[in-house]
């Protein structure tokens, strides 16, 4: 059974002021209803004035998604009743959206894939309800209009996605693109919300509303596809309906059947003249986008295709990499893409928490072979833990000094008395069986002894040195 998925994605445009007034969009940590004016409160008589910056941002997105921008787009009122809706309607675009018929190329399940974009339009966010007295049976609800009027764009795809994984990759690529455009900050609360339409070929379509995380989309789709497959297997029909995704339980639940669907009574917003911006689009110069940057990373820094994809998948990572690549592009690529991202992920930290100069210091130590790879990882862990805890950290140099991780070398001479040679002698003495095995031709035994020496030197010896010294001692004692 073929899976058919289409997405409707709401993204918050990262403007300084709201869509129809001059109120600030940065309300984080501020008291409710402090970023409000007659316009965004929807007071009687107040009128909307469109934020040019929001339009510019939306046009950037339209262009990056290869959309065409019609001569004229029109704002419409979407009428419905809800306690957080300031005016009793939401200003959005309906039958004449800002941009139509574009695409975004992603890595599909079977290689490169083009996902068509049906439309991109601009709309305002309503307010927010705060339920007091427990989430199950709140005693009362308060309304906060700080969010009311936050500019959003809605991006609607054609039903071109074929699996939850593809949907996830599409969203990642879309997010990366929006961040490259400088119009979106995925780290802001409520910055992205997704509605997903899912059907199995030949069956009814189900809409899952309001998924608020990237992981949630994949989970919701996986659950929903399984649910639909099971229903069909049992001979039941999939009914056309709207469902909610319950993040905590990882399931979707029925919200209402399509027969009961709201009639939004759209009509053109009389207070805003039609928007004519098709000329404006030509003047918009797009920055380098993820695909172009990935190619450049391969050309300019010699990154492998896999590293290039990882490093360009998030603008913060790409920019971080470029700040430290000067030390040694190949070394930096491995250490950022493989080591750093893994350690960050483990700690649930963002790359923005890591000062590039600190990481550059670490790379320099590695490049000069002042520390071993293993010590490098140890230093990185210590530093990330410090950053997570306090927001600052010591330099890698200081850390290496404090932990005594500087590389120790074996002297080249026969019978030398350096720490590596001493550790090697000890290892051979403590593990006569291994030494014996090696001498009898079992090469793996040498690896065991190398491990023992590394342990004794706390990873500060260069493996090549250890190898050389061990061989010399073992061959001598033959």
């Amino acid at each position: 059974m073929n899976v058919i998925v289409g997405l409707e994605i709401h993204c918050q445009l990262d403007t300084a002021t709201k869509l129809f007034c001059g109120c600030s969009t940065d309300y984080r940590d501020d008291a409710p209803n402090t970023h409000v004016c007659p316009v965004c409160l929807g007071l009687p008589g107040a009128l909307p004035v469109l934020n040019r910056r929001a339009v510019e941002y939306a046009l950037r997105v339209a262009k990056a998604l290869h959309c065409s921008v019609p001569e004229e787009s029109v704002f419409a009122r979407k009428n419905y009743f809800y306690p957080d809706l300031n005016k009793g309607f939401q200003i959005t675009q309906y039958d004449k959206p800002l941009a139509v018929s574009g695409y975004l190329d992603i890595e599909g399940d079977d290689g490169e894939k083009r996902v068509r974009i049906a439309r991109v339009h601009i709309e305002e966010d309503p307010g927010r309800l705060v339920h007091k007295g427990g989430s199950d049976r709140p005693r009362y609800s308060l309304v906060d209009y700080n969010r009311a009027g936050i500019p959003l764009i809605e991006i609607v795809t054609e039903p071109d996605l074929r699996s939850p994984q593809e949907a996830r990759r599409f969203l990642n690529k879309l997010r990366a693109t929006l961040e490259y455009l400088g119009v979106f900050d995925s780290e802001k609360e409520g910055s992205l919300r997704v509605d997903a339409n899912v059907s199995l070929e030949g069956s009814e379509r189900v809409e899952i509303k309001n998924i608020t995380s990237y992981k949630g989309v994949e989970k919701a789709l996986t659950f929903e596809i399984t649910r639909q497959k099971n229903a069909i297997r049992r001979g039941q029909k999939v009914v056309r309906e709207t469902r909610h995704f319950v993040e905590a339980r990882g399931v979707t639940t029925s919200a209402r059947s399509k027969e009961m669907e709201q009639d939004y009574r759209y009509f053109p917003e009389p207070d805003l003249p039609p928007l004519r911006v098709s000329d404006w689009v030509d003047g918009i110069v797009l920055p380098e986008l993820p695909d172009a940057r990935r190619q450049r990373f391969m050309d300019q820094y010699g990154c492998s295709p896999i590293h290039a994809r990882t490093l360009t998948g998030d603008i913060r990572i790409a920019e971080f990499y470029e700040k430290v690549a000067g030390i040694d592009p190949a070394l930096a690529a491995t250490w950022v893409a493989d080591t750093l991202l893994g350690e960050l992920n483990y700690r649930d930290m963002s790359i923005s928490a890591v000062p590039p100069e600190i990481f550059a210091g670490l790379l320099s130590l590695l490049k000069d072979r002042a520390i071993t790879d293993r010590s490098g990882v140890e230093v990185l862990r210590v530093i990330l833990d410090e950053l997570k805890e306090t927001g600052t950290c010591e330099t890698p140099e200081a850390c290496v000094g404090r932990l005594g991780l500087r590389v120790i070398s074996a002297s080249g001479e026969e019978g030398g008395d350096d720490p590596v040679t001493r550790a090697a002698r000890e290892a051979i003495e403590e593990n006569p069986q291994a030494a014996e095995d090696y001498r009898n031709g079992r090469k793996e035994a040498l690896n065991y002894l190398v491990g023992q020496v590394m342990k004794k030197t706390r990873g500060c010896a260069k493996p090549a040195d250890v190898h050389r010294v061990l061989l010399r001692l073992l061959d001598k004692g033959k």
Partner: protein, 434 residues
Amino acid sequence: MGAETLDFRPDDKYHAFLKIVPEAQYGPGRLSGVPVAVKDNISTAGIETTCASRILSGYVPPYDATVVSLLKAEGAAIVGKTNMDEFGMGSTTENSAFGPTLNPRDPGRVPGGSSGGSAAAVAAGLVPLALGTDTGGSIRCPAAFCGIVGLKPTYGRVSRYGLIAYGNSLEQVGPMAATVSGVNLLMSVICRHDPRDSTSLDAPYSHTPTMDIRGTRVGVPEEFFGEGVEPRVASVVWDAISLLERKGAEVVTCRMPSMEYALAAYYVTCMSEASSNLARFDGVRYGPPPDHRKPWHEAFQERRREGFGVEVRRRILIGTFALSSGYYGKYYAKAQAARRNVRRDFLRLFSEVDVIAGPTMPTVAFRFGEKSDPLSMYLSDILTVPANLAGIPAISVPCGKVEGLPVGLQIMGRWLEDERVVDVAYAYEQGAGQ
């Protein structure tokens, strides 16, 4: 800034005002110390603004409408808020939730609506100047019924910021006064570009009326004297048109076929817009709070059922119906098509004539309760709504009487030619006075 206080304690026996400001502040300027009455659907900071509706009683706007700021900037004293049909819905001011206004020319009759309070305040001599709003004739109708002058400006020339919306795409704030000069003065104060209103035009008004109308071509559409126009009213208006001819204007008759659909287009449009505009009055932030123990949709219903008057509920329901899916194409979209036809008709007419003249209202002021059936009430707006559909300027100037009751002459002009309709009205007014 050296504000002074005007003592305002009028004998408001016609119930022109919903709210009086007995000690009104004023400053220096062209209107320094002039008492101005403001219709109660225009926001005034610190002064209760209710749109004559229970649902807004107790609402004190935290900000001034742009027109109010402009009045204050010229030193005017805002002395009170005038009565009106609830949310502007009506042609008699009988639909006020706080009781009707009486017509100072005959207290047994309605003052017209919906700016009936403003018209009565001027006609009774309580204030020299007042602001009204005109969605389908709401300035011109009461001006005609009360025997004063009222101008509906070109759509976009006067800011709507702060005007509590009824039919956004149709309505304009406009001046009302006893004379054309008064209207002209008030217009020059309130007509400004407003960056807070996206439909605002940059066409300020600075004009000295002239009575020289020689060579002005005056078109008189046959439809403006059709069935329903009271013959004695028609006769008085024709006399007025003849006077314009004697003053050197050239009068030609013409046809306006779109009139047939204008009224329907108007009502579908304004009711649709109203159904959306009034949705915010759900008891969450205005009026008495809803019963919080009930589910919110029930609480909303209850609040709206109790808070809105019959006419308002009727229009919300019709508007909601006209916009609903399956009917949009049949009603709203058709109304917009008819509206385009009206615009086209005016464009064609205005390529041949400079202004269009006719009666403002088909009859003189009704007696209270005379029109109980809403449809016959709606029909009385037939002559005023075309100007709103097209967004063009139109003025009503008193042009005589029938059985002692005033009749209004309506002059409509090209888009942005508010000055010209003022001139023609001025020429009539001055000519009639000679």
